[in-house]
Amino acid sequence: MSTLAEPLNPAEAMAAPSLQYAIQFVWAEADILDRLDYKAWLPLWTADGRYVIPTERGLAAYDDSLNIVNDGAEMRQARVKRLLSGFSMSSAPPARTVRTVSRFVPVTVDDNAITLRAAMILVEYKYERMRTLAGDVVYRIVATEDGLRLDQKVVTLVNCDDYQHGIGYLL
């Protein structure tokens, strides 16, 4: 099955995604982001899905802390609109990125969801310069009748509590 495009049959939609399906989904998402196909990225999320990039490690709750990103559906949509608008000089053009996601560890399996953590290494290129970003990522992926969906993605950069440079794309 394609983890992104095809709806799950009712039996699959009831069950938690397998680690294998979840990993395929994560890779497909990474590929979408590197290709800047943000319009295809938005529907990967559940309605209540949360996209978080914290400024501290080991937080249990994000809403009472300052984050780099703490987006619900509305902010994700606004963010994509901004990145694709052509009027943001940091993202028109954005840095080119190539990322890999690996070192997957299943954390929990609920009725219809799997939570896994992984390592992401991303290299960006702009203005004759390469930069490397590394982070721990936690994904909560749920099975729905419409296919797998991202319910939470938390990207904790290895240096999240130190300085970054401007980031004109999505992690």
Binding site: D64, S65, S90, Q164, I167, G168
Partner: protein, 417 residues
């Protein structure tokens, strides 16, 4: 050093090597950052006795501490024995600082407490002479500054006309007092003065921040029409300036009876549900969005609408910026949450504003590598609206480069002193 610094700065323009010349940068670190008041912390970073925060004065690492009596100290973060840093945490609690190398320990006020195996020095160690180097430290309305100089004017006088604006800015504590809530740090490959200019540059706002404006509801977009509301830029002396973009948000205690803006209605309802009386709800809601002006304090700190913007020169072409989110100390949780979300919306390495600012500043540095003999123009501006600026202050319209000219005249004064 043979550069005649006075020739680099005219009344309305500065010469390109101001951004690119390493030897000028080295001189700035001595002549400016070691000769004036440099912001190091906010009082809420040190909430109780025996708390600390690490910071910088220019390029030098310091620890800002509050002792048990409540007195604040700024100490060079360098053991007096063999120079190791004695603290590498951002902030926290400590009643003693112990150097990890040979175990020399220091009190919160910097005094040398104990030296292991003291007998090895015979009679030859005067411990009273070997405390951490302590910088002169003064505070105004929660803003803590330090200086290497014991003989310059008090902070109170240095801030001068800027004090009024600090007091106005702190009203966004909504009656609770201002508290730091977290910070975004980011760097850009460019000179520190590019950022210094930017905090007093309304001209760029509708261009660079178009995508931020597009992400707001129509009512808020009107509020952020910063060039169209009769604002102004005012020279406050000593290189400080204020840029008023939204005159209706200068004094947050005014107009408390005005209708609550659409984007704050949900918050207001939450506060009412929490049992907050109507007058307090209005005060908190009005404070949540921040002030309508940027106060630029030479050389390294701005009170910018709803946050502190701290700049730190790293190299001639590398600058670190910290955007400190602030909120209400002990204020309603939903109000502080909203402040955090508003801060995240614009600020930070992936905010809707900051990355575009950073890109613009980098482009300035890249461009400045061409045309060494060309001038950076800061000559923009027409008269400020009648009667808005304090009598005797030089002022221009909201998009005037008056604040940059003020900062560069201070730069010239300090570099040629």
């Amino acid at each position: 050093m043979s550069t005649d610094f006075a020739t680099l700065v005219q009344d309305d323009r500065v010469l390109t090597p101001m951004y690119t010349d390493e030897s000028i940068f080295e001189e700035e670190m001595e002549r400016i950052f070691k000769n004036t008041w440099v912001w190091v912390a906010h009082a809420s970073d040190l909430p109780t006795g025996n708390t600390f925060k690490t910071s910088y004065v220019g390029r030098e690492r310091v620890i800002v501490t509050r002792d048990k009596q409540g007195k604040i100290h700024t100490l060079l973060n360098r053991c007096r024995h063999r120079a190791a840093t004695i603290c590498e945490k951002r902030k926290g609690k400590a009643s003693v600082f112990v150097c990890p190398y040979h175990g020399w320990s220091y009190d919160v006020d910097g005094g040398l407490r104990k030296v292991p195996h003291l007998a090895g020095y015979g009679e030859g160690l005067d411990q009273t002479e070997l405390g951490l180097v302590s910088l002169r430290t003064e505070e105004y309305n929660g803003m803590i500054f330090a200086t290497y100089r014991d003989d310059i004017e008090p902070l109170f006088d240095f801030l001068g006309s800027a004090r009024k604006w600090i007091d106005l800015f702190m009203k966004q504590g909504g009656g609770y007092g201002v508290k730091t809530l977290g910070e975004h740090r980011f760097r850009f490959p460019g000179n520190w003065k590019i950022q210094l200019e930017n905090t007093t540059d309304a001209y760029h706002f509708p261009i660079v921040h178009k995508t931020f404006l597009d992400s707001l509801d129509a009512e808020s977009e009107n509020v952020f029409d910063v060039l169209g509301q009769g604002g102004w830029v005012e020279d406050l002396g000593n290189g400080h300036s204020v840029m008023v973009m939204i005159p209706s948000l200068i004094d947050l205690d005014d107009n408390l009876d005005a209708p609550i803006p659409e984007r704050f209605k949900e918050l207001a309802a939450e506060l009412v549900a929490e049992g907050l009386p109507d007058d307090q709800v209005r005060k908190v809601v009005r404070a949540v969005g921040g002030s309508g002006f940027n106060l630029n304090l030479f050389p390294n700190i701005a009170c910018s609408m709803a946050f502190f913007r701290v700049l730190r020169p790293v190299e001639v072409d590398e600058t670190e910026i910290t955007h400190v989110a602030i909120g209400m100390d002990g204020g309603p949780v939903p109000a502080n949450r909203m402040r955090l979300r508003l801060h995240e919306h614009f600020q930070g390495p992936m905010g809707f504003g900051t990355p575009d600012d950073a890109e613009g500043w980098e482009r300035v540095q890249r461009g400045a590598n061409a045309g060494e003999d060309l001038w950076i123009m800061v000559n923009r501006g027409v008269d400020a609206p009648e009667g808005v600026a304090a009598p005797g202050h030089n002022a221009g319209d909201v998009s005037a480069e008056t604040g940059m000219r003020a900062a560069y005249q201070m730069w010239k004064r300090m570099m040629t002193a």
